[in-house]
């Protein structure tokens, strides 16, 4: 006879979790229009966190590197994009949609390029000497996070930096009583596009096959004739670039950023990676969406508990699944 957990697995398993949380929230909130607004906000927030966290998950899964400096790329991505958007403020305010979009594209491109180059430098200079030594990894990457914050302070100053938004991403769409902020819909769409791209690369290409195999058993990948060190550098660069893109998206979402952004996001990013299961992009997406939805629902229903929502969620999920929602097979 089929058990309850087998029945749940048959209907989608852990993928049902965000749906179940949303339905419970609908009952508790009781106002459908507020629920839709909160759900869209939660999904958008989840997608931005997914961008920041997916690289960290792959880096840990493949390289077994605990990179506490990952959120430095989030900070730098946010500040680089903010500066780029500031330089193109004329295009942002223009009536031309093409100029608006070009400004956003170039700002994101600047953040991604910075992430790729800084990621390469970080991997080769800071990470490579401490492969296989978790304690030193924690110390040196936390040190790098502190140094990066100081660099941001030196370059951009300590005052909050305002981030201009392009006019085509300002405002909201109204569907009856439901309000959907355009920027949030954009964040959701971009996050989804990145997830689909990552999914296709991992599932349909030879390099993706190598990454998935490397996450499980690096030594065997080498014994099959592949130099996994090169893969490490590539994955680290892409992971850093995704974090920078997430930071750029977050900057546009918050519209006011400080040098402490990286430190603030570090805990959320780690919670998402732990909830999702190390080394799994699908798990990271699930974890990020859960964190985004819970933060918005609990912020509405019980604002005093909002700060604790991530920790409570992590504890509940780890009690249920100690390896996370969708860990890579080891």
């Amino acid at each position: 006879m089929e058990t309850i957990s087998q029945t749940i697995e048959r209907f989608g398993g852990v993928y049902l979790l965000p749906v179940a949380v949303s339905l419970i929230a609908l009952v508790l909130i009781g106002i459908p229009s507020s629920w839709v607004t909160l759900t869209v906000a939660g999904l958008a927030m989840g997608m931005m966190i997914f961008l920041m966290a997916s690289g960290l998950s792959l880096i840990f899964g493949l390289m077994d590197v605990l990179n506490f400096g990952h959120s430095a790329f989030v900070s730098f991505g946010a500040f680089v994009a903010a500066s780029a958007l500031g330089y193109m403020s004329g295009w942002l305010g223009a009536d031309s949609l093409a100029l608006n979009m070009l400004a956003v594209f170039l700002a994101f491109l600047a953040a991604i390029t910075f992430g790729l180059v800084a990621g390469w430098f970080f991997e080769v200079v800071i990470i490579k000497p401490v492969y296989h030594d978790h304690l030193r990894q924690i110390l040196i990457t936390m040190g790098a996070l502190i140094v990066s914050e100081q660099i941001i302070l030196a370059v951009w100053g300590g005052a909050p930096v305002s981030v201009p938004r392009p006019s085509f991403l300002e405002g909201s769409w109204l569907f009856g009583d439901v309000t959907v902020e355009i920027y949030r819909a954009f964040a959701f769409a971009l996050g989804l596009a990145v997830y689909i791209a990552l999914y296709l690369v991992l599932k349909r290409t030879r390099i993706g096959l190598l990454i998935r195999a490397g996450v499980e058993n690096r030594e065997m990948v080498e014994a099959l004739g592949f130099k996994i060190d090169r893969l490490f550098v590539g994955v680290f660069m892409v992971g850093s670039a995704l974090a920078a893109l997430g930071g750029a998206m977050w900057a546009g979402y918050e519209t006011l950023i400080t040098p402490a952004l990286g430190g603030e996001m570090m805990i959320v990013v780690f919670i998402v990676v732990i909830i999702g299961g190390l080394g799994s992009v699908e798990g990271t997406l699930l974890g990020a969406i859960m964190v985004g939805l819970m933060a918005n629902y609990i912020g509405f229903l019980a604002p005093k508990l909002a700060l604790a929502s991530n920790m409570v969620l992590m504890m509940a999920i780890l009690l249920w699944r100690p390896s996370g929602l969708k860990p890579a097979v080891k």
């Binding site: 096959l209 190598l210 195999a213 014994a223 099959l224």
Partner: protein, 234 residues
Amino acid sequence: MTLLSLRQMKTSIGQYHVLHDVTFDVPEGGVFVLLGRNGAGKTTTLRSIMGLWTPSPGSVFFAGQDISGLHASSIARKGIAFVPENMGVFGGLTVEENLVLATAKGKFDATRLQRIYTLFPALEQFWTKQAWSLSGGQKQMLSVARAIIEPRALILVDEPTKGLAPSIIDAMAEAFQEIGQTTTILLVEQNFNFAKRLGHGMAVIDDGRIAHTGTMADFAADTALQEQLLSLSA
């Protein structure tokens, strides 16, 4: 003709000196068996040949070339495949993906693939299944199939019968007999009956040193030597 030569190979793992003096030759063709008690250094010998542990310089020669300082990936590209004790299959990948990864260009040679289907019909049956869902025997078949999906000069096989049912062990022995006709196999094994059935040449390792080399036929006939080197009772 000698395919693989080990010359006074020494290997240390951290502060422990595991191999002190490993010297033997593996001739081209057939199955060469490395026997020994638990902890004698059999697995370390295979891993050192494969470059997964670092052996002493100038101690491993493959087809006349010194490979003792090379990276595992370079050694694999020279035509040496490794079937580890834990099978090393990628559980999250399908059977097909596990085999694709072992091909040089990501494409199968139809003849070799057919040979694998003939040797291990279960792999064709579970072609699209993720490897974690296979039984222990099927995982071992996949691990061996991965080693022969491309032409290799030498296959290093570490205790392939460990934990397998007798019927699977029989099937595995037949597969190795067939593979050994075209590819040299260096087999590490504790199951003496299995080793006896397959081996042509053999060596016994004890406490990180080679204690005996010879033919399997002679060793199988000498029960006193078996008792002395492997603690096997007749």
